[in-house]
């Protein structure tokens, strides 16, 4: 913890009514705006009136007890679910009715809570799938092995290794993704997501199953990724040392509703949050 600089001490400024972004992002259009977002599953409101604005280079955290609807929010943003209420704007574009693929092309990339790698493919091939819409050539070029095929394959290979270098994983390029240890698989998911050249990276419990040392490394890497790629990151995490250490704005969700928003210090001091996590303090002990 000691050598990691706390990034939570950025001054947050209001953007709209209740939206806050880091001061440096105030003049830039926000990456993500969720307005009154909600979804119902057969009468059950899994997410209700969810508002969130994420600045151009902000690292934001989404926390809450189990079953609060955090992953549902991710699925709404990435268009796995179509919201029944409200809207999601990505880089100013309304995502109403878009498919997962179209949302990805608008600049969203994500990792999954239960890792979803392409298990039978190699590490490099996994990253190359992320590069699918970045370095292109068509099917006929591939079958006929035209000069463009060799040129683009080389570019993909170089770019994939460059991205794998973030986590020092170049040496694993030829390994089968499914055979990697858990922690490495999580990192590979992040690399693969970064390969799509996103403006917003969604990380669903990136530190799950990692030991404290690995978590600390991950924190540094998350900050490094943001600095290097100048992107916004929204992460769901239960490890509070990571959330409080790296997130600038934090949003707390409980039973599908936002119960608090603010910086790490504000959230830690918020009685509503403490109650959601630890339960209500017993009143008068008569």
């Amino acid at each position: 913890m000691s050598q990691v600089k706390r990034r939570a001490n950025v001054k947050m400024v209001p953007l709209q009514s209740d939206a806050i972004v880091p001061e440096r992002d105030i003049d830039k259009a926000p990456v993500l705006e969720a307005r009154h977002l909600g979804i119902e599953f057969g009468g059950l409101k899994a997410v209700d009136d969810f508002n969130l604005t994420i600045g151009r280079t902000e690292i934001a955290g989404l926390i809450g007890p189990n079953g609060a609807g955090k992953t549902t929010v991710f699925n709404l943003i990435t268009k796995v679910y179509e919201p029944t209420m409200g809207a999601v704007l990505i880089n100013g574009h309304d995502t109403k009715g878009l498919s997962i693929v179209q949302a990805s092309k608008l600049g969203i990339a994500r990792t999954f809570q239960n890792i979803r790698l392409f298990d039978q493919m190699t590490v490099e091939e996994n990253v190359r799938i992320g590069l699918h819409n970045q370095i292109k050539y068509d099917m006929a070029t591939g079958i006929l092995r035209l000069p463009r095929y060799w040129k683009q394959e080389k570019r993909q290979h170089e770019k994939a290794l460059e991205l794998l270098h973030i986590f020092d994983m170049e040496k694993l390029a030829d390994e089968t993704a499914g055979s990697l240890p858990y922690g490495v698989q999580r990192r590979l998911e992040i690399v693969r997501a970064l390969a799509t050249n996103p403006s917003l990276l969604l990380l669903d419990e990136p530190a799950a199953g990692m030991n404290p040392h690995e978590t600390e490394e991950l924190m540094e890497n998350i900050a490094k990724i943001r600095d290097q790629f100048q992107i916004a990151i929204l992460l769901i995490e239960h490890d509070m040392s990571l959330v409080m250490g790296v997130c600038e704005g934090i949003c707390v969700l409980n039973f599908g509703k936002v119960i608090a928003k603010g910086t790490a210090d504000e959230i830690q001091a918020n009685p509503v949050v403490i109650e959601a996590y630890l339960g209500k303090k017993k009143e008068a002990q008569a």
């Binding site: 990339a109 298990d119 050539y137 079958i143 390029a173 030829d174």
Partner: protein, 356 residues
């Protein structure tokens, strides 16, 4: 060169070397007249079944969808090929057999490809096993359709009908209902079959090792992750399915033009399962395995003609055994440890060669 790249290259070279070697060997045997009559008659069918197996492997092994109507595409190709060849001969007097064969194969491939697209567009948008159900039905529908299909050529024009009576006077029948495609001039050659296998291998192997092929494999491994990475899943499933259907149609045209008649009962559900057996025995996603298993399983029943009644029974048992054994971790580890020394020896030789 990376390890994965080198392994892939070795695999491709071995596959092509095996096919080309077998072709040269058989050609020299034909030249020496040291080949048995029955094997010589089987050469073109073997080529057809190899193409069928490799193309079905593209659907099942590479794109991860189950297709149970591959023989349906073959029959579309066979009938189209027979009609086109007969039409070119009767209406346009094209005597050049090679030209006719090539045009018939291309037309057969295109017709089957269009059929594949028609099926794929609605079905591949769905998740789950719908493709298996629909292709199963497709195979049966096609078989019943061609059962009542009449195609004739009169005055240089093709006439289609589902009623025999409506054929004009002086017509030369090309497809005669339940009698099938009749009076075909057999024009298929072993060389054509060999070239078709090479084309199939080039298409499938090059596709697998390209951007599109990786996208196809990604949709197989994890559909949601592939979509989240911006890979349009339906498009790539279509690509694999239509390519496979077109290749099956080409194989069908070659198969149909190998004998004097093609009857609907040649392309039953059993034939689709037969090709499925080739693919499963050869290994899902393993193109070389498909080539070998399709060849062996086409030649063996002919050699074991005395037991041919039990073939389907044995197939079923062998298929179940293969599925049990290849999924058993103990047996897998024994097998891989048996293969390991050979792999090591090969690698050692390679590295020695590189440093020297």
């Amino acid at each position: 060169m990376t390890k994965a790249k080198r392994n892939r290259l070795i695999y491709n070279i071995v596959t092509f070397a095996l096919v080309i070697g077998a072709f040269l060997l058989l050609q020299s045997m034909i030249a020496n007249k040291s080949i048995t009559r029955s094997l010589k008659g089987q050469l073109v069918p073997i080529c057809c079944w190899v193409v069928m197996a490799v193309s079905l492997n593209l659907v099942i092994g590479i794109s991860g969808e189950l297709s149970l109507g591959h023989a349906g595409f073959m029959s579309v190709g066979a009938y189209t090929g027979a009609v086109i060849s007969g039409w070119l001969l009767n209406a346009h007097g094209v005597d050049n057999t090679t030209l006719r064969l090539v045009l018939a194969i291309v037309a057969g491939g295109m017709a089957a490809g269009v059929m594949g697209a028609l099926i794929g567009i609605p079905v591949l948008r769905l998740r789950g096993d719908y493709l298996a159900i629909v292709t199963l039905a497709f195979g049966e529908i096609i078989r019943n359709l061609v059962n009542v299909l009449y195609v004739g050529v009169a005055d240089g024009r093709l006439t289609f009908s589902f009623l025999n009576k409506s054929m004009p006077e002086g017509v030369t029948m090309l497809v005669d209902g339940a009698k099938g495609a009749v009076k075909i001039k057999p024009i298929s050659t072993f060389t054509a079959g060999f070239v078709l296998i090479l084309i199939t291998l080039i298409v499938v192997l090059n596709l697998v090792n390209s951007r599109a092929g990786r996208a196809i494999k990604a949709t197989r491994d994890n559909r949601i992750a592939a979509e989240s990475m911006g890979v349009p899943v339906t498009k790539y499933k279509m690509m694999a399915f239509v390519t496979a259907a077109a290749l099956a149609g080409m194989a069908g045209a070659l198969y149909g033009l190998n004998s004097s008649t093609v009857v609907p009962t040649q392309f039953t559900f059993n034939q689709s399962i037969n090709v499925l057996v080739f693919v499963v025995l050869g290994g899902l996603g393993n193109v070389l395995g498909s080539v070998i298993s399709a060849t062996l399983l086409t030649v063996l029943p002919e050699m074991l003609r005395a037991f041919s009644d039990y073939r389907m029974l044995v197939y079923a048992v062998v298929l179940i055994l293969v599925m049990i054994f290849t999924n058993n971790p103990l047996i897998r580890s024994v097998l891989s440890s048996a293969v390991a020394p050979i792999k090591r020896a090969l690698r050692g030789k390679k590295q020695g060669g590189e440093t020297a």
